[in-house]
């Protein structure tokens, strides 16, 4: 399903006759902070049919949750997600916890008649994701929506890329090459945080970064991967234990070491259903690359290229230009007729990472108001999970090409 065209924003004021959309959020770390910014800001910028209300935030540590709620502007606090899900004054549950709790919370929230926004990856296993997708479909019949948070679809440049691919500007697709490169594990003394332990994190670079690029590649291509061939690697297998609290990505080493049980890097090639080829790389060891999600699509009529480290730019090669004048052009995606932009700033005044969460809220609120299936749905999240499972399977059987099951 294509995005509603984020056009001609709020020349008229929203209809305040409609009830607000009361949100309860579980988790308040990195993603909770980003989502809070999205919920707080979307209605200030876009003319939304229903105004989001930051009703309640949930965290196990009551004092910390209260502080976070004050900080980010949430009215109430809960310390048990079940209590949050049970609140009458919550219309939508926003799940920003680690992946191992997604399924349980989402299923309960849908059962309780809430809309759900769930961070990616949808779940840590295909089975969980499948249950969630079934529940989401069932809830849709009752008018409740469930969206998975693949926010990188909502960078204006990637949204423009999707629009151009859908309009046929690339013609028959031949190649999609995509990498998500970070470098925060290059230091072998970085400690063994929960992100490096399979029992907690599910997987390493694959689930964290790979999920994003599998979704984005399939979304931009407008088609699915048929199969994959994969290698994964853990470069540093013993790391110092973490001292003190820390989070997934920051910590100080303590005495003793432990074993890393997730992948540091995953490389895979694949075939799209149309026959186009794809190559993927997800790593936390690309020294000097901080958040380099790069994707390039080559088609018979043109190519598109994007790098998240320069997120206001989309590069387009139009192969139908006269040969002597053809070249990759740097489209500064800040024009009023670019996706999402007319609600923001004048041309050349760039947006940042967090705006993807504002756009996510915008699109979700519209979908709820329209009763349309959200995009990406839990079914989309499930399908990404199936690709990741095929990657792990292939990596486990000597890289043999492994079909993605339906």
């Amino acid at each position: 399903m294509e995005q509603p065209q984020p056009s001609g924003e709020p020349k008229t004021r929203p209809n305040h006759a409609k009830p607000p959309l009361r949100v309860g959020m579980v988790g308040y770390a990195f993603m909770g902070t980003a989502h809070s910014q999205g919920w707080r800001t979307a209605g200030r910028v876009f003319g939304l049919p229903r105004q989001p209300v930051l009703a309640a935030l949930c965290g196990r540590d009551g004092a910390a949750a209260r502080a976070a709620a004050d900080r980010h502007g949430w009215a109430a606090v809960e310390t048990d997600w079940r209590a949050l899900v049970a609140r009458d004054d919550v219309d939508l549950v926003d799940i920003c916890t680690p992946g191992d709790s997604h399924a349980e919370i989402a299923l309960a929230a849908l059962a309780a008649g809430k809309h759900v926004l769930c961070e990616k990856p949808l779940a840590n296993t295909v089975a969980e994701a499948a249950a969630m997708a079934r529940a989401a479909e069932e809830a849709y019949g009752r008018g409740r929506l469930a969206m998975v948070g693949f926010n990188y679809r909502r960078v204006p440049a990637t949204a423009l890329a999707r629009r151009m691919v859908a309009a046929g500007r690339l013609g028959t697709l031949r190649h999609v090459r995509v990498a998500y490169l970070q470098d925060w594990l290059t230091d072998p003394d970085f400690p063994l945080t929960w992100r490096l332990r399979k029992e907690l994190a599910g997987s390493g670079a694959l689930g964290d970064l790979g999920a994003h690029i599998v979704d984005l590649a399939q979304h931009l291509a407008g088609e699915r991967l048929a199969g994959v061939s994969a290698l994964t690697e853990t470069f540093v297998r013993e790391r110092p234990l973490p001292g003190g609290a820390g989070s997934g990505l920051t910590a100080t080493p303590a005495a003793g070491t432990g074993t890393v049980t997730v992948d540091d890097a995953a490389l895979f090639t694949g075939r799209f259903t149309s026959g186009a080829l794809a190559s993927f790389e997800a790593t936390r060891y690309a020294t000097g690359r901080k958040n380099a999600l790069r994707i390039e699509l080559n088609g018979e009529r043109g190519s598109l290229s994007f790098d998240l480290e320069r997120l206001n730019e989309l590069w387009f090669h139009d192969a139908t230009d006269p040969g002597a004048e053809a070249g990759f052009r740097r489209i500064l995606v800040t024009e009023p007729d670019h996706p999402y932009i007319d609600a923001w700033w004048p041309p050349g005044h760039g947006l940042g990472y967090e705006h993807t969460f504002v756009h996510q809220v915008r699109d979700l609120v519209h979908a709820i108001d329209d009763g349309r299936r959200p995009d990406p749905s839990f079914a989309d999240g499930l399908q990404v999970q199936r690709v990741l499972a095929a990657v792990e399977e292939s990596a486990g059987k000597n890289s043999a090409y492994t079909p993605v099951t339906d």
Copy 2:
């Protein structure tokens, strides 16, 4: 979830014993929208000593002002700025109107015991700016601060550049070359909005874009311009009259034409007090350049280069590197030890244009809390005005080199 929570800044909660900072804003167009975002967001991200409160917004058209207030989150509305200035529940007046009203409002607000934040350029004339600077200095004696809104000092990359220059990383400065290139006037049928009429706008590209680059160049260099030699030009002298409302930058043409009375472009060279050379260009006719504020500084020990169209990057050449390994390096200014960043997102997750206004609020609130003179002060705004006046004087006398007066 890719990476950890934004750590740094507010490890401890702000001291809520301190009173909030109640803001009254005049004007609600482009700048008013950006400032609203700044006031709303700063306290959510940074640990501020006093929490900003969006107390009242002022606009002449009551209904429109009310709608804007609702939209942007302002509590009350006024239709006369004098009434806003008189309100007891306003501690700070934020002036987002066109330049011709800055002086009158700022002087009244300071006289009424308010802190003031005033958009750039500080005023349309040196005389007005001088009166404002005097009033600001007098108010400072009474504990009231006055800041001018040169927000481009607060891009993390430019703030880092300033830090590096101050630390001596460039050594003796030789060259500063700076341009602010836009292209919204290249169409000769773009209508004669108020921005193209001297009686309203004061000047054209010079006051609008030139003020920014003169301030930024002097700020980064850490010294002032001693004199300038200038050319200005109005390429298209007759334009269609605008139809309907429109704003300074958007409008539809109507019947009839009128005369453009401001500059379309201004080019000037100059000398800094140290003897370093500077070149400036401000234009609205640089086809394809949307918001290209570019500045490069060359010193004996190194160089820095920045382009606002890629605002998360600062380029640095360290001339003390071994020759075979030296080169301009692209610093992605998203690391926790870069200015402002530790309150935001993990490395590589870039910021946008509007964040400069959040940072401006942060710095202003701290300055008020500390009782420090704000940076940039009205005196700084006055000095920029004197440079612009010297530019106009030089342009009017055959480009003769014209000293900047104190």
Copy 3:
């Protein structure tokens, strides 16, 4: 005149007491033209111990060969390569023919006591390449050298990269990602030239582009690939037959179609012997990419990045720089202490593609004069061939990981 004379290299004149190096070249198409430029120019720029002499050129069409010889500066002409090999006035045979004739000519030339320079890929099969490597080793015992023409090792930027890796600037290597992207087959009406027929060309993008990047990746990494997992694809299987003469890459379509029997694209991942991961892509369908050989190496202490479309630049990230100042730096590889440069032009005056052939001649002549094994040797060419064979094998058995045999 901007800058000074090219100093460095030949402060002393070459020793003309030494005999010239008389060259006989087989083939005079694209590679023959490039090699001619190399042989003609190297002695004019570098102070060579022996002066190359363009003794004889060989081509089957006598008139065409004569014209090419006149054009490129070769003294004599032969129409049978056996006659060329037999000439007493030829010291070195330079083989610029298609791959299917490399083995026969090289073996004969070595047997005749000539030095040999052979274009890449060394041969169309591992068996041929192995025979050539054996013969080269045997000839080395008799003082005759055999080099394979992987010219991309001799871009100053790649040579600098090798020097930096060898000096430990990257530390432990983690990733090598490399792609060679061209786009001349995107038009489905491009005709079925000999390059698209397996019986003539051996393979498609794999042997043509893949050979270059396998060699370059291993050379820069300083280690070999242990195994690979591969996908290959032929996107367009029926193409118009070519009309008229044409060459491999240019032709006009004629009536009728034929079947493409080589790969259009090859993707493979792999492991280096050290455990570093590698990803490779070779394609003729990357719309808008003309000659984009891109390689990036990530190590624990730093990263290097190169793109042949900007061949005068090498990007280096030094992870030991202070965090706030670290970034990929663009080294303009035109300084006198960069490889090959001091014989050329002042800083910033870039070189081009053909200079790799001049450098190849320079290095080969020095190796001959020194009696050192040339680099890359036929053994290196054989090893690349073995990697390509493993790629084909893996692609043929469902992408299963396939070791590279010794």
Copy 4:
């Protein structure tokens, strides 16, 4: 072998019935080396109507000249330029000496019935240049041509830019901004070579770098500068005396110091005859910029941008593209329908600095064969000299705007 042979150009062999063009060159330093490469190579690559012959080289030091002649491939040697000019076996005199001897040699060579190629700047004074232009015009009546060596017109990218401007792709021109940035003087201990002494060099950055950019700007714009306003500066006025021989750009310091009597940097703004604005900067103090000749032209319908440090690229913004898809496109100027390219390599296989000299020879030989006035002529060189004189005059009278005289 990646791609096909360089086709295009010489489909037919040159007409060898025509006599060769016998060249005598005066000077053999940096420019002499570059010109030698041009004369040697042009006939090997392009199908020239007359084949250049490197007949004689002239230098005051006989042994050094002999060594240079051997090195670069010149047949004979002279130690007095008058003897060279008098030789019967010389058809064209190529002047690669410093500017103070250009006039004398050129006048003598034209008087002796030779064609002349003279390095830029044409002369050190307007008077000399005027005399040369008159002599050239007179010689043209006798079938003798005189060209000035503004080689940067002959980068394929700049030649393409000229073609696009001439075809109206930019529409009405508004801005030309151009800089030539080098950094070899940033070290204050670099010694006082002849290039820093006015009596020998005429001027500093202005004549050396400024001459190039004035010519290129006017050439690309297709119109002349009407007037300029200028600043010049000498940052370091005392430098160590040079020890030993050295050249203009390289030397080792000795005891004692001397006074720099030329400009280190020159900044000027100007107006074209059409009313377009121009800004120029020439400096030897732009730390980290090695040979950054950058030019951008903005017109009503489009813009072009070029940087000599990436000389295979031309950036083009087509303002008539649909807004949502517009952007500066990077044209890789290596396609067969780009200027000069079809005689060289396949797409993406870039050229370098020295190729401008090959193209210069190609164009000059064609002009001689056709009897056409060469481009740029001595009259063009004179006009550039007049601009430089206006720059110096303006700099000397407080930057007052100074018309360029005819």
